[in-house]
Symmetry: C2
Subunit: 209 residues, 2 copies
């Protein structure tokens, strides 16, 4: 299938086949793709929680208006934004850049200053919104990659972030839930899989200048 | 190349080959992929402006701290969030769903109510932040799809949104710039293309539960 055929094949899977799990290799490849997600100024200001534990998922399902995908999918992926973006965070990031690229840290002073300028120019609320945006890029990478790999997914915004944070112990980790996605394989009788895909008409979506 | 090899091949291209343009077919395929981007509750609350015009791009470059990619790439893609999400917007969306799927509109009352409940539960600022998040999913789809198609891209957050809105006449269209991406083909001497990719260490990025 071509890329477009694969993107048409995917849909927000509402009913997963509970008996089908991603193989360790499939999960590894999908997470590897997510790991490679681009981020503004290179700072991946979020973490990715891969939830398999059934008891945890039962609690999360309750915090997501009872949606079955949370419990029935192969895994639940939680994208959590960093709430503690500060100069120390940036310092650690720049240390990591220097180490990875074998560059003298002094040569990265301008880069560090640019990122700090960006972060310090935002209110705490704006910083979290910014971190959540980066997490949504990663969600886009996950959904496209899953389609590419023949894995089903359901992105979800319908959940209580405070309850998710509580159940997953995110607050003490300096994180807050941004968006989630269930991954696995569609049940053959998922009625949503038969519906025609709805997208904004192209002439409404695109403006050419 | 495998998906992972393609995602490793891509990087935030800083220097584009000015002589290389996407073919009409390549542009069509990439925009088609963006058009298929998923969005929360199905509402694609953003538009995509494809800027080719050189004079407009010269102005946008100034509004993006002079970054050369804005002018030198094959096209500049501007993701602009809708600022007028209201019940009328949702009504139009539901009309479109009914028409696309050939469903009696009355059967979509619950869906319409759910979306309105979501939108009305947010402040104007939260609605715009939400719309921007959807645009970032589309950016993730664009970047992954571009890599898949062998097209280079540079996602960019460094620009003045008010200036972009002004230059592109977005305010009167009920839009505001969320994020941008230059697309085209890398110059062979782009030094950034030779740097080792930096990503948060996997053990810091992922939490398994």
């Amino acid at each position: 299938m071509s890329l477009i055929e694969k993107l048409n094949w995917r849909y927000a899977t509402k009913k997963f086949d509970k008996t089908k799990k991603l193989s360790p290799l499939q999960l590894e490849e999908l997470l590897h793709a997510v790991h490679l997600s681009p981020a503004a100024t290179g700072v991946q200001s979020y973490k990715v929680i891969v939830v398999e534990d059934a008891a945890t998922r039962a609690k999360l399902q309750q915090a997501a208006y009872g949606q079955a995908q949370v419990a029935d999918a192969s895994q639940l992926i939680v994208f959590a934004a960093e709430t503690n973006l500060d100069t120390q965070y940036v310092k650690n990031f720049i240390d990591h850049v220097a180490k990875t690229r074998g560059i003298d840290r002094a040569n990265l002073a301008g880069y560090e200053q640019m990122i700090n300028g960006n972060i310090n120019g935002m209110t705490e609320q704006q910083r979290i919104a910014w971190a959540k945006e980066q997490a949504h890029i990663a969600l886009g990478v996950l959904l496209t990659s899953a389609a590419e790999l023949g894995i089903d997914a359901c992105p979800m915004g319908g959940f209580s972030a405070p309850q998710f944070d509580e159940i997953l112990g995110l607050k003490e980790k300096g994180l807050t839930t941004a968006v989630i996605a269930a991954i696995g394989f569609r049940a053959e009788d998922d009625a949503y899989g038969k519906l025609k895909k709805v997208r904004k008409p192209e002439e409404e979506m695109f403006i050419h200048i």
